[in-house]
């Protein structure tokens, strides 16, 4: 198997390493970072907008470039999460939890370096795992039916509670708000419209991107104005490669050495399962890291491990998502769905035969992802002083620019004014949530996961004729059910045995 893997990767490298392919790989990676940097302008939109520019290229070159945009945006997306608490997309929501507090503590430099390293390790481990496991994992993903998906998503929803912060009740209210927003639109099961009030704009439901940009981007800006940050003197952040506080210290490396490995593997598994992808991967990465930490109270206040875990996870997940895409033709996220569209545009038929019919394309693409991660780590570390300059700009100037970027980013998604208004409403809501201690992250993630959970639950029950036995009869479902039950029951049992002492530690 190892020999196969090396042979495949070598063959891929021979395809990927041509001057043209390398050039477009670098362009893709760079564009991806920029795409990730703009709040709201996520990889799906970035790839879609740039597809027309790749006409005239060889299919492999074009896809190498588009894939570069895809995983490059995972690097760029975190930079805004750390610096201005505005995740460009749902996969970097978890990175704000500790990334932004780190920047506020004056550790923006180390945070950016560590996220680049975590992204690189996550992405690279992901690519190695693709080579090793692609054929096997394809079969694994194919045996997942609605009941298995429901249990995975349900598990993700349970883990949401670990990122709700101090006030659990407010967190649950925030998540329920997300579920309510997810209810809008045509019900996939019955075809009946829910909460559309006869508006044709709402048939397709409320897309999470305007809501996420509003809650995080606009909401954060309004809050900063409210607390008077625009009147404060700008404290210049001086960062250069030579200054001692630019590089992470020894403690950062030693503490997060296993975090990055755990995050990568969790993220990769989440990425392989279609429909879960980088968002669930990053939440799982963060939550599990917090759960197993001896000092979970440090998380959310600027803990390096809390940034490294979701970063390694979302990059590994973006590689993992290539497995069902390349082996089954099943896209796991919006961005991979657009990539799938691009494959078909070049006459590459996604499905189990792709790897047999076009091995040069498949292995060339995988090898290019390996090279792309190397380009990106150099690019992202070299450009950190540039990104940190963002913090030097007076707030009165940052504010209108970010509002403008948020509005443009939202409008260009579907050229919809209704979504642009949704952004502004979500912005006001996000401000109030922040003011009264609710959790915008819980709302956005519930919005993304809620409709998936509902759909898969109903599908499972249709299959079983209404009996919940489906969650225990299928072998993988049984395993997942046991894990879910353990997660729910174990803390209760432990509390009964060890009393209050355990409860305190767990929180």
């Amino acid at each position: 198997m190892l020999a196969d893997m090396i042979a495949n990767l070598g063959f891929g490298l021979s395809v990927a390493i041509t001057p043209t392919n390398l050039l477009f790989l670098m362009i893709g990676a760079f564009v991806g970072m920029i795409v990730g940097l703009f709040p709201g302008f996520g990889p799906a939109a970035g790839i879609a907008v740039l597809i027309p520019m790749t006409f005239g290229l060889e299919p492999t070159t074009a896809i190498i470039m588009l894939a570069g945009i895809y995983y490059g945006s995972m690097y760029g997306g975190t930079i805004t999460s750390i610096l201005i608490n505005t995740p460009g997309e749902s996969a970097t929501v978890a990175s704000t939890l500790d990334g932004y507090p780190l920047a506020q503590k004056g550790r923006a430099g180390p945070a950016l370096v560590m996220q680049a390293i975590a992204s690189f390790v996550g992405g690279t481990i992901g690519v190695i795992l693709i080579c090793a496991l692609a054929p096997t994992l394809a079969g694994f993903a194919a045996s997942f039916g609605p009941s298995e998906y429901f249990l995975i998503i349900f598990f993700g929803l349970l883990l949401l509670t670990t990122m709700m912060g101090e006030n659990k009740l407010n967190g649950i209210v925030s998540a329920l708000l997300g579920f309510v927003i997810a209810m809008v639109g045509v019900d996939v099961m019955s075809g009946v419209q829910r909460f559309t009030f006869g508006s044709s704009e709402l048939i397709g439901g409320i897309y999470f991107v305007p809501v996420a940009i509003g809650l995080f981007g606009i909401g954060e800006l309004l809050y900063c104005v409210y607390i008077g940050q625009h009147k404060k003197e700008v404290k210049r952040v001086k960062l250069s490669f030579t200054s001692s506080d630019f590089w992470p210290d020894k403690k950062d490396y030693t503490e997060s050495k296993y975090t990055v490995l755990r995050g990568s593997i969790i993220g990769f598994i989440a990425g392989v399962l279609p429909g879960s992808g980088a968002t669930i991967g990053s939440i799982l990465g963060y939550s599990i890291e917090k759960k197993i930490a001896k000092d979970p109270e440090k998380f959310g206040k600027g803990e390096m491990r809390g940034l490294v875990a979701p970063e390694a996870a979302n990059n590994a997940a973006s590689s993992g998502a290539m497995v069902p895409l390349l082996s089954l033709g099943i896209p796991g996220s919006g961005a991979t769905a657009v990539l799938l569209g691009a494959f078909m545009m070049w006459g590459l038929q996604p499905g189990p035969m792709l790897i047999i019919n076009d091995p040069g394309f498949v292995w060339g693409l995988i090898a290019s992802m390996y090279l792309g991660n190397m380009v990106l780590i150099l690019l992202s570390i070299a450009a950190i002083p540039l990104f940190v300059k963002f913090l030097d700009i007076p707030y009165v100037m940052v504010l209108p620019i970010v509002v403008l970027l948020c509005v443009i980013g939202t409008y260009t998604l579907h050229f919809s004014m209704v979504e642009t208004w949704m952004l502004l409403v979500a912005g006001l809501l996000g401000f109030c949530m922040k003011l009264y201690g609710y959790s915008p992250a819980a709302t956005v993630l519930a919005l993304v996961l809620g409709s998936m959970a509902e759909e898969n639950l109903l599908q499972s029950l249709i299959i079983s004729g209404g009996s919940p036995s489906i969650f225990f009869e299928r072998p993988i479902s049984l395993l997942l059910s046991l894990i879910v039950i353990t997660v729910i029951v174990l803390p209760v049992v432990l509390r009964m045995i060890f009393g209050k002492r355990y409860e305190k530690k767990a929180l």
Binding site: S143, F144, E148, S200, G204, L328, G351, I463
Partner: protein
């Protein structure tokens, strides 16, 4: 090589430029076109409608079928096509707007209160049809549609498809009615979910678009039992149609071009002629092949009646399953 290609293109260009000018004279359409054409895509980039629209516009440009003027393609997505199609319908009488139809062109006005339906447009032509396969796993016991019908009469059968009220559901319902059987229908959110429902053994069969299952069929994992179009697919000539197997129904989605209503005289005929040339090109045939569509073309007002009958069948099924009142 490149030079040679250019020469061929140039020759083709001249031929078509010549024929286009003949058309203008025939229809007494002096000076058309004299403005930029706005080609509206009612969906976002990345989907099937966008791909068809951009392929078609590329062909029109390449062969200079819209002589002397530009075509601007614009994505106006939202509300399952309601926004973009609505925008075109409001350009009544304007011969410089066009859009591509797909399944939602028929279904969106039926399930929501739009201010337009298919009859508010000038039909130009059906350029491709998107029919459905009934698909089972290769290791399934059902070798033919008859096997499947027999199993459905004696036990509980689950059939998957995309959407509760989408074309998969329509084909499944028409088939059940014709065969006199009943089965449970499992709506999946996307084509990918539907495919995994079959690979994971959650359902016995799926009603799928050829492009959604062609990879799995080629790999030998899936077997198509029947096809819902009037004729066999040009890409899959071995797979029989439902009607030749004795299940008397056909259903396919119209992938065509429509323009706003009440156009000046001759514009409809001008475009029918231009698009008849477009579908003859190797590029269009390559598009059909890659996306497993069949090219049974229907032109002008005949396309209008086709849209009407498709809409009627669709509406009947949606009423039957309770998606609309």
């Amino acid at each position: 090589m490149k030079m040679q290609k250019n020469v061929v293109t140039l020759a083709a260009l001249m031929t078509f430029a010549a024929s286009a000018s003949v058309v203008q004279a025939d229809n007494g359409l002096e000076g058309y076109p004299e403005k930029t054409l706005n080609y509206i895509v009612a969906f976002g980039p990345g989907g099937g409608n966008n791909l068809m629209s951009r392929t078609l516009v590329d062909i029109i440009n390449q062969y200079d079928l819209y002589p002397g003027q530009d075509i601007v393609v614009e994505n106006r997505a939202g509300g399952s096509g309601a926004i973009g199609f609505g925008h075109v319908s409001r350009q009544e009488g304007n011969p410089y707007f066009a859009t591509s139809t797909s399944g939602n062109f028929i279904s969106t006005p039926l399930i929501s209160s739009t201010d337009w339906d298919y009859s508010d447009f000038t039909p130009i032509g059906l350029l491709a049809s998107d029919a459905m396969f009934l698909v089972v796993s290769t290791d399934s016991d059902y070798q033919t549609v008859d096997d499947f019908v027999e199993a459905a009469t004696s036990g509980r059968i689950l059939v998957g498809g995309t959407g509760a009220a989408g074309p998969s559901r329509v084909v499944a319902s028409l088939f059940a009615e014709e065969a006199g059987i009943e089965f449970e229908y499992l709506p999946a959110g996307t084509g990918g979910e539907m495919v995994t429902a079959l690979t994971s053994g959650s359902v016995h069969a799926i009603v799928a678009n050829p492009s959604e299952v062609s990879g799995q069929m080629e790999a030998g994992n899936f077997r198509a039992l029947a096809y819902s179009d009037q004729e066999r697919s040009s890409v899959y000539p071995d797979i029989p149609t439902f009607s030749e197997l004795g299940y008397d129904f056909t259903f396919s989605l119209p992938r065509g071009v429509v323009m706003p209503a009440n156009l000046p005289d001759g514009v409809q005929a001008w475009w029918v002629d231009a698009l008849q040339q477009a579908v003859e090109t190797p590029e269009w045939n390559a598009y059909l092949e890659t996306n497993s569509l069949s090219g049974n073309y229907i032109w002008g007002d005949e396309f209008g009646s086709y849209l009407e009958s498709t809409s009627d069948v669709y509406e009947g099924i949606l009423r039957e399953i309770g998606a609309i009142n």
